[in-house]
């Protein structure tokens, strides 16, 4: 059997840059032009299979708007293995916001966290305010991964998640590095409240939204 790894991925970035849209594209290959600010769905999983057969399961946490007034709970980034910090290429202010999230991550997160800077809405290149050069240069200086995406057309989306999947360290046992897997019942080392409560036991592993 090929190896399976599970990692926690958190999304950060200003409101309306397309965090939830990116996840929706990645997980369900869908897009919605009139997406409301995140409500309802904020916890999804998606598996990427790498060329060598290794599969990497992402447990994806969306901010649910708690970042809007700087009220993100520490629980959110606890044990995060990777972070996708999103800006909107048509809003230069959103890159500033992304920079401040990255500073926060560098200060607070585990030093080995993998950070990807993601310029979204590449389909709107006509209204571009952030040049590729500027963002790439910043990413290089800070040692971040970088890519442009369009959640609308799908361009670059799978690529950025696959690149992250490749970069994540795969030297730990199946459940992923250190951090407790908080999705599937099997990944837990402690007690599972659901198991005892529902007779069916088995939890819905796919989409928990």
């Amino acid at each position: 059997m090929s190896k399976q790894f599970q990692f926690k991925l958190v999304l950060l970035g200003e409101s309306a840059v397309g965090k939830s849209s990116l996840v929706l594209r990645f997980v369900k290959d869908q897009f919605d032009d009139y997406r409301e600010s995140t409500i309802g769905a904020a916890f999804l999983t998606q598996t990427v299979t790498l060329e060598d057969g290794t599969s990497v399961k992402f447990e994806i946490w969306d901010t649910a708007g708690q970042e809007r007034y700087k009220s993100l709970a520490p629980m959110y980034y606890r044990n995060a293995n990777c972070a996708v910090v999103v800006y909107d290429i048509t809003q230069s202010a959103s890159l500033e916001k992304a920079r401040s999230w990255i500073r926060e991550l560098q200060r607070q997160a585990d030093p080995s966290i993998i950070i990807a800077l993601c310029g979204n809405k590449s389909d709107l290149a006509a209204r571009r305010q952030v040049s590729e050069e500027e963002a790439r240069k910043y990413a290089e200086e800070e040692g971040l991964m970088w890519g442009e995406t369009s959640a609308k057309s799908g361009e670059g989306v799978t690529e950025i998640f696959t690149e992250i999947a490749k970069k994540l360290p795969k030297n730990a046992p199946a459940a992923g590095r250190g951090g407790p897997g908080r999705t599937g019942a099997g990944a837990r080392s402690g007690v599972d409240l659901n198991k005892q409560a529902n007779a069916q036991g088995e939890q819905n592993e796919q989409c928990n939204c």
Partner: protein, 449 residues
């Protein structure tokens, strides 16, 4: 901030966060604010910097305690009863997906100067030094009676009526010794005083059944505990609320509860902004905390609790080196009216550095020297590396809120678990929403949508 909300919730303690989460799921537009820059209010778990800021603002934490971020020190000592009401809410709202739980390794009770394990199965019960051989037989008959009780089958009642006969009558019927009564009433039914003995037996019966079914669920103790501390609980319900559209603002000064000429709630003022809402729910600290605000006393003090957060470099002596434990000192054993509790957790629960144990000793204050009252508990801990003592008032609202749309929660009491917190959630919900809280499984909610 010029939007209008259905409900403003003040304070991010567990009670407020559970309410906020449930109200958002119900479709209410919720604004949730806290004056602190961290989640959890009085039920927060603090890192060392936050702990020092709270208790010793002039000092910084000593380096020898280890990394700041390894600490999540609970302000209130409570555990989750495995089969209790909080567990039901956690499962029904599915916030369990954000949390990971571990068992508390053991429950202990103080008797005649030493501590013994509360037996967690029949084998342990037979070996337990807590009862003599004959008393064990009597106790066995008593537990068989409770287990066999069926309301509809008088043959199981042995002439007793749980709704009329007092618990004392039931104890007497089985001839249980006072020490055994202490053990059952305090270490299993988890009563803090002996008042229950003169009351009808049913609530005690229900508590013992809850205890034994919780004990049976995972095996070691009836309690479970979330990794990274109790502060994870309010955070996970806050996330639930946010996912359902709740707006979160921490670090926000709450300067005034604005009311109209009839005293009805209008909004909350922070600086020179006022946010309006139909209703407000909040913890007592936002409503005067016992003092008059805007000409009204909205909450009154019911009593005080003293709590000592103790940092140890070893497990509690006599607890079989348990990584976590509850120790109950029944009031009778030390000549008090209220029990003394010790709750201990450690790095196993990701709440402190390796080789460190956090034990909180607490009791209801009976004298004007509260610190002396917890001494019997402190003495059981061995060398105490450091200690942070606090005395908190327990506040209760003076009005139900149905007239002025101001709904105030209760302070976290001295019980060792969250059952009374959940009672408060049900109670406030009933008043805010006007109907009983019926928990639905989250899948069902979404299936309806």
């Amino acid at each position: 901030m010029d939007e209008e909300y259905d409900v403003i919730v003040l304070g991010t303690g567990l009670t407020e966060c559970v309410l906020s989460g449930l109200l958002s799921v119900e479709g209410k537009k919720v604004l949730h604010m806290d004056r602190n820059d961290y989640y959890g209010g009085d039920s927060a778990s603090l890192n060392l910097t936050q702990l020092y800021r709270k208790f010793r603002p002039d000092l910084s934490p000593p380096a020898e305690l280890g990394r700041d971020r390894d600490y999540a020190v609970d302000l209130i000592p409570k555990f989750i009863i495995a089969s209790g009401e909080l567990t039901k809410i956690l499962v029904h709202t599915d916030v369990t997906r954000y949390l990971e739980f571990k068992q508390i390794a053991g429950s202990f009770v103080y008797r005649d100067g030493k501590i013994s394990k509360v037996p967690s199965n029949e084998v342990e019960a037979l070996k337990s030094p807590l009862m003599g051989l004959f008393e064990k037989r009597r106790a066995k008959k008593f537990f068989e009676f409770l287990q066999g009780w069926k309301d509809e089958d008088p043959a199981t009642h042995q002439g007793l009526d749980l709704d009329k006969d007092t618990m004392q009558t039931v104890y007497n019927k089985f001839g249980l010794e006072p020490g055994t009564q202490d053990f059952i009433g305090h270490a299993m039914a988890l009563y803090l005083t002996d008042d229950y003995k003169t009351k009808p037996a049913r609530p005690t019966y229900e508590r013992i059944v809850l205890y034994t079914s919780s004990m049976a669920r995972y095996g070691k103790s009836p309690y479970i505990y979330p990794l990274y501390g109790l502060g994870e609980l309010p955070q996970s319900f806050a996330r639930l609320s946010a996912i359902y559209g709740g707006t979160y603002m921490l670090d926000k000064a709450i300067d005034e509860i604005v009311t109209d000429a009839d005293g009805k709630f209008i909004g909350v003022r922070s600086g020179n902004e006022t946010v309006k809402a139909k209703q407000v729910v909040g913890d007592p600290s936002y409503f005067g905390a016992g003092k008059q605000t805007d000409g009204k006393v909205r909450v009154v003090e019911e009593g005080k609790v003293v709590r000592a957060i103790c940092i140890l470099k070893h497990p509690i002596p006599g607890t079989e080196d348990s990584d976590s434990a509850q120790v109950i000192i029944p009031q009778n054993q030390v000549g008090r009216k209220n029990d003394i509790y010790i709750a201990c957790v450690s790095s196993t629960h990701n709440v402190c550095a390796k080789e460190v144990y956090i034990a909180i000793v607490s009791t209801i204050v009976e004298t004007d020297k509260p610190e002396l009252e917890i001494n019997p508990g402190l003495q059981l801990l061995g060398t105490i590396h450091d200690k942070f003592v606090s005395i908190s008032s327990l506040y209760t609202p003076t009005a139900p809120g149905t007239d002025d749309n101001i709904f105030i929660t209760r302070s976290y009491d001295a019980t060792s678990h969250f059952e009374t917190v959940v009672e408060d959630v049900h109670d406030v919900w009933q008043r805010v929403v006007g109907k009983d809280l019926v928990l639905k499984k989250r899948e069902d909610i979404e299936a309806q949508a």
